[in-house]
Symmetry: C2
Subunit: 526 residues, 2 copies
């Protein structure tokens, strides 16, 4: 699952049309104007989440059970993050799937089983509460790889660390996604312990390949399709608070295509089977130069506007109904804090925050996640490598089809003389969208209002998750939210706040779990 | 030290002027014609090395000593390659320097000492034969890094392997440069053992940083400058035969600049201290794209012509005296075999062999030895890296000054809007040239003629070695030659032939050592 950190934009509500024409030269000697789509804000309406009636229920006995067992609940989170489950490296995957299934059985799920797929196994579980409503909880039990040398603590030690936010769990998976997931299970455990059941029937659908782009998740869903279709919605537990304690509630995600681009020696030139001496560049073509040139042909020199023909053609301008949401986001952000949290000194292209935010919500990206060729060690090695590889992804807003965009990239490379560049698709799926008026969204907002923290409701995340399976294939509303704060997903020193500093608006573990209790009950009563 | 494999060109002696105009677009929207210098062959004269009188001496007792002790001599080579000495990784450097000094003392050098430098130590040794002539032997005791998984045998095991060439020593350093160097010391050992002395006084000057670009070699030379200036020439033992047994004798090397180019996040955009989530490319600049675009701006899309202003301005056309040498090279090559040995299916840009050969001898290169950023492991990781790095080198024919070329690269980057790209120079030195008529060259040729193998004399190697220290600073002739064959320098499965197949024209270890005995005596009698 994908976190942007915060981009809640500042007070200027009207984006002046700032058309930025770029004169781009292409390699056939002609030049053409290429322009990334720019979007205007067309109303000054704001969305006030506080206008939705606060959830009126209170579940004091369950809350008390959470407080009593908090030490054990925290130990559950630590146990989970101490079990590595790096899907990309098949490290600890089976162990983590077993741990999840065993935990679900222990909590009281009558059905809980591993689900074989062509990749890592999933976990399916069902709790029959005899309730009217049925909720699907989507989970991911895998995590991203780590570079331990960049961490303050060992990434799988489950250490509690004192920071300016209070006491945090610092570990790979702390916030993405084991922390909030196990917090939800803690909430279920306390609810069942006190009331003997749950307010809704629950289907748990967990995959171990989210960080790989969920290639086999549709296989899993297919096996339980009939049971899933009968559900009322899908929930994904998520630390939605920012450092200031503000809550965001996000209604969609972008799609993604992820691929490797590779140049190798062959009939088109370059060493075929092995590297050669670097001085031989004088009369041997270089696969590294080919890859670099092929990549470079795809963007403007700043790396920020995509030059692939047609790539922006199906980009959709913001729908009118997004305007109040955007305006609210803009009104509630501290730009300096947002940049500090991201570790940047300017927005892309030197844009204003508002421009950057529109890119974030509505434009596709082309990003190089990694590139490697030849010698990458200490010192130097004078070689002409025979292979060069880059991992590239593109985030796709609604309307951009993964297969079609992959095709445009191939066409671009061929057209610009890079037919020797190999594309190896690694994953791809489209965007997903839920509407503000769905019962699940309204229930979650009502709970936040009970806590006096109306959320900023955002049209979508720039990141990706395979939620199209729910929203497009199963036609179910899907919401990912919750109180609590974390940061560092996919990065070193990933954290989830457990015991916030005095005076902080961030929810600690106990309050996070109580929030999940309320959300389940609020949905049951919608 | 640098091997090209073979480029001895085919029978066509006249290169038709084949001007290849490239229409290149640059990023300011204008376009200009860029053209790599092309050179014509302006005479059909050939150089016949066989016309130089064969060396008449014979040293049968020394030859017999070599034959008697061949097993021990081979064991010396194996002992040397079993001692790793990877300068880039400071692996085994001190141990190898000690081994070299101890071997020199054991052979009978009265003076042999480690020479501290600001980097890895050198080794200096002197053998006073009371002779008229003094020869400097340049040595390098360091080797390139290895990727053991690409090797047929462990690269530091010193294994003998049966191949289509016969029995070979397969190890890092086998041919570059421990094999021929220790073979020369074996020859000295047998000579001293039989005659009680050497025919010339010998200065050994060995460095441990050749593969790093010899950054501290001038420091070493400086300490012994007066003694070196009194010498008659400099010799570097080298396996000069190709797979067919043909001998090449090379009169110079190109210079080099080696640098890292790096893009990092900062005020110009991009994450400053750590990677961020890949989806944030939507509003954050990418250092990887910056590096890719900066690199791409420096060459044509094929990666083969340098677009840096002025880079070709001081390239010198072949001097008239090179023509007979080039014509001889052209006449003695099998193109198919040359391409097979290199592992390529075409010459750069689809050129003819003749065109490629002229590039090899007279044009500068721009080569990417390695590039890395972000995630380079298995599977995928969706990040926007905060650093991207490339190791780039440029080989410089005579007339191109290292500092000046480095300046042109900086100017190019700044001019094209890439002032955010950091250049970290790692090494640099100019080309080196010796003339055909020097006594040392003539002595070596006379020895090859004794063996009935007149060499192909080549103006230069495309590779680099810090021989300018000898030819330019000390004004001494410098020759690197010898019989014997090796391949795989800077690559996996590096070999030196020890016992060639029956009928092969390649010299085995015994003959290689006898050749060195003759070269020393021939020089002494010049």
């Amino acid at each position: 699952m994908i976190y942007s950190k915060w981009l809640m934009l500042a007070a200027c509500l009207l984006l002046t049309a700032c058309e930025q024409n770029k004169e781009i030269a292409v390699t056939d000697g002609t030049s053409k104007q290429v322009q990334r789509p720019r979007f205007e804000i067309t109303s000054d309406e704001v969305f006030d989440a506080g206008s939705i009636p606060a959830y009126a229920g209170s579940h004091d006995e369950i809350y008390a059970d959470i407080d009593r067992n908090l030490e054990q609940h925290l130990a559950n989170l630590q146990r989970w993050v101490r079990q590595p489950s790096i899907s990309a490296q098949n490290n600890g995957i089976t162990e983590m799937a077993d741990m999840l299934r065993d935990d679900l059985l222990a909590i009281g799920f009558a059905e809980a089983e591993l689900v074989p797929t062509d990749g890592h196994p999933g976990v399916f579980a069902y709790y029959d509460a005899g309730a009217e409503k049925t909720l699907v909880v989507y989970m991911m039990y895998d995590v991203q790889p780590v570079n331990p040398e960049d961490w303050r603590v060992p990434p799988f030690a489950g250490d509690l660390v004192e920071t300016d936010l209070g006491t945090v769990l610092m570990a790979r998976g702390a916030t993405n996604q084991k922390g909030p997931e196990r917090a939800l299970l803690n909430a279920l455990e306390s609810t069942i312990s006190v009331t003997g059941t749950l307010p809704v029937n629950l289907i748990i659908l967990a995959e171990g390949e989210e960080e790989l782009g969920s290639p086999h998740f549709p296989q899993m869903v297919d096996q339980y399709k009939d049971r899933l279709l009968a559900a009322d919605g899908v929930f994904f537990p998520f630390n939605s608070q920012n450092r200031s304690g503000d809550i965001r509630m996000i209604l969609g995600v972008k799609g993604i295509i992820y691929m490797e681009l590779e140049a190798r020696g062959g009939a088109h030139g370059g060493p075929v089977d092995h590297e050669v001496h670097g001085s031989l560049k004088a009369y041997i073509d270089s696969p590294v130069w080919r890859l670099v040139q092929a990549l470079a042909s795809m963007t403007t020199p700043d790396g920020n506007t995509i030059l692939i023909d047609g790539y922006y053609d199906k980009v959709q301008p913001p729908p009118e109904k997004d305007m109040p949401l955007i305006n609210t986001m803009l009104a509630s952000t501290n730009e300096a804090k947002a940049m500090q949290a991201l570790g940047i000194e300017r927005w892309v292209d030197g844009e204003t925050m508002q421009e950057a935010q529109m890119d974030y919500l509505y434009n596709p990206t082309l990003n190089i996640n990694g590139i490697w060729a030849g010698y990458t060690g200490d010192g130097s090695k004078t070689i002409l490598p025979h292979i060069a590889t880059a991992q590239v992804d593109s985030r796709l807003p609604p309307g951009l089809d993964p297969d079609e965009m992959m095709g445009l990239i191939r066409t671009h490379l061929d057209k610009h003389g890079f037919s020797d560049i190999i594309i190896r698709p690694m994953s791809g799926y489209p965007a997903s969208q839920t509407t503000l008026d769905s019962k699940l969204v309204q229930a979650a907002i009502s709970v936040f209002n009970k806590y006096g923290s109306p959320p900023s409701v955002e049209p979508r995340l720039a990141g990706s998750a395979p939620f199209y399976v729910f929203t497009d294939i199963l036609q179910l509303p899907m919401v990912f939210t919750g109180i609590g704060h974390g940061s560092g997903a996919h990065a070193p020193n990933e954290i989830m706040v457990i015991y916030p500093k005095d005076g902080s608006e961030i929810a600690g573990l106990a309050k996070i779990e109580k929030g999940y209790v309320d959300i389940l009950h609020a949905l049951a009563s919608q």
